[in-house]
């Protein structure tokens, strides 16, 4: 097994609503890890994936995957997209409308390759019932599963997911996070995901790369990035503050997590640094939480 990390360095001028912004960053990623790129809209998250896939050329850059140089602007090496071992799940899924689900997957096979991988993926992603359907007949979640399966057919050295779950409701999002994790582990993939959905990031990522003003602000475990201090709590929920209201001498902070609101009592001192819309983690150290199954 090759343990050489993926190396990425790029400089690319971005056109943003605030004018030109240089995307200037470098990072490394160990094989088999799942990295999430997190940052505001227009921060250059998708551009990083596109540069990795060979769909966008940076002004300067270097990319090495599994000891193979994909891009080195100093020596004029630039492998075209088709020669890079990537799987790319696009925001709009980019399924071929004229092909059925099965044909979309078979299309991704290389000449003479065994169709058994397609069968495995159809089973893993639970697409058996849908294999003769056209993309237009599928729901958003089903299309996402097909796009994910198609991206994996090539057994890519690098799986790139560009906010694939952003258009889905919470329940579907949760199920498809399972699909991503299942595929990532089953095929020992190295995966880079673009997301700004905190619960998703905590659930999926080994590492987070936080992007700000075109630069890597921080890279580390989700808890290191998003929490000011590490809490080894018994119970953690991440979400967004939807309301802070005073109640006598304390405050009640309502946090929206998935589609549930958690109410937390906080002191005036604690709410000082909090505001509505902020992403937070609610953790409990002292009490055992109660667990009850939810039937959909």
């Amino acid at each position: 097994m090759n343990s050489t990390p993926i190396k990425f360095r790029a400089l690319k001028m971005l056109q943003t609503s605030d004018g030109r912004l240089p995307l200037d960053l470098s990072f490394e990623l160990e094989k088999g890890r799942l990295l999430t790129i997190y940052g505001r809209s227009g921060a250059g998250k998708t551009t990083i994936l596109r540069i990795l896939a060979g769909l966008t050329d940076p002004e300067e850059g270097f990319i090495e995957v599994e000891s193979e140089t994909w891009l080195d602007t100093r020596t004029s090496v630039n492998l075209p997209a088709r020669r890079r071992s990537v799987g790319f799940v696009f925001q709009d899924f980019a399924l071929f409308p004229h092909l059925t689900v099965r044909e979309n997957l078979v299309f991704a096979l290389q000449k003479g390759e065994d169709q058994r991988l397609v069968e495995d993926l159809i089973e893993l992603m639970e697409l058996g019932q849908l294999q003769k359907s056209r993309p237009a007949q599928l729901s958003g979640g089903q299309q996402q599963r097909v796009a994910l399966a198609r991206a994996i057919v090539r057994k890519p050295g690098l799986l790139l997911l560009d906010e694939p779950l952003s258009a889905l409701d919470d329940e579907m999002r949760f199920k498809l996070q399972d699909c991503i994790l299942k595929a990532h582990r089953h095929y020992h993939l190295t995966t880079i995901l673009v997301s700004h959905h905190l619960p998703e990031i905590f659930r999926l990522s080994d590492e987070v790369l936080c992007l700000e003003n075109g630069k890597v602000q921080r890279q580390g475990k989700p808890s290191e990035i998003f929490l000011e201090q590490n809490i080894s709590g018994k119970f953690k929920v991440t979400g967004e503050i939807v309301e802070i209201i005073p109640a006598d001498i304390v405050f009640i902070v309502s946090v929206l997590s998935a589609n549930t609101i958690v109410k937390v009592i906080a002191t005036a001192e604690e709410v000082k640094g909090l505001r509505t819309g902020q992403k937070v983690m609610v953790a409990s150290k002292a009490f055992n939480p109660v667990i009850l199954p939810i039937i959909y």
Partner: protein
């Protein structure tokens, strides 16, 4: 009974022209859609020129170019023993130039209307530009291809100025249906002219109707993402 020769000649000219145009226009439109070449706008303008140019102007310059006493025409006659003026091959070349925008433009707008992610997805799946064009892009612009084919065919059938200038209206060789109508009117044979005209009218209408029907069905069956 009318002489069917001009009608067959028109159909033969249209068929040959359309077939050659299809082969030329797919790579040309694909290059125009995806190339980063800065001066491609000049190429686009040249291709579209026949849309605005009077056919007689184009016919006149082609007549000069094909003339066996000068330049290109002289070269073709002396080296290849090929005389394009007043001949069927000459008509085909004139029609190719004249109908080029009617084939290229629908294919070009079809390709430009596809989401870029389709082409990119095919590349990231390891497919070459040719495979992507043939197996992904063209199947998804079938309505545009059909529109290009039918417009080129119908436009060539209805051609008058160019074929008049370079064809010379020779019966059995270059006298196509549109010229036959003109001749019959000149000779005051309105009845025969009307038969030719009605046949062309009915043929063109049925052709366009079938294109719209097929395109409507295809778009409903394969909506783009």
């Amino acid at each position: 009974m009318i002489d069917l020769e001009p009608l067959w000649l028109s159909l033969r000219l249209s068929f040959v022209t359309t077939a050659i145009l299809l082969v030329i226009s797919i790579p040309l439109a694909s290059w125009l859609a995806y190339s980063r070449f800065r001066l491609k706008v000049v190429v686009e303008a040249i291709i579209s020129l026949p849309l605005v140019l009077p056919p007689s102007v184009l016919g006149f310059y082609l007549l000069l170019a094909f003339s066996p006493s000068r330049g290109l025409g002289k070269f073709l006659e002396q080296t290849l023993d090929l005389r394009l003026v007043f001949s069927f091959p000459g008509l085909v070349i004139g029609s190719l130039i004249y109908s080029l925008p009617f084939m290229v433009n629908p294919i070009l707008s079809g390709l430009k209307g596809l989401p870029p992610s389709l082409k990119e997805a095919s590349s990231t799946l390891g497919k070459s530009g040719f495979t992507t064009l043939v197996k992904v892009l063209l199947p998804n612009i079938r309505p545009s291809l059909l529109t290009g084919i039918v417009l080129s065919f119908a436009h060539t059938i209805g051609e008058f100025g160019v074929v008049m200038m370079i064809g010379g209206n020779l019966p059995g060789r270059t006298r196509v249906a549109s010229l036959a109508i003109y001749d019959e009117v000149q000779a005051m044979h309105y009845r025969t002219a009307n038969r030719y005209a009605l046949l062309l009218f009915a043929f063109s209408f049925l052709l366009l109707l079938s294109v719209y029907l097929i395109n409507h069905r295809f778009s409903k069956a394969n909506p783009l993402p």
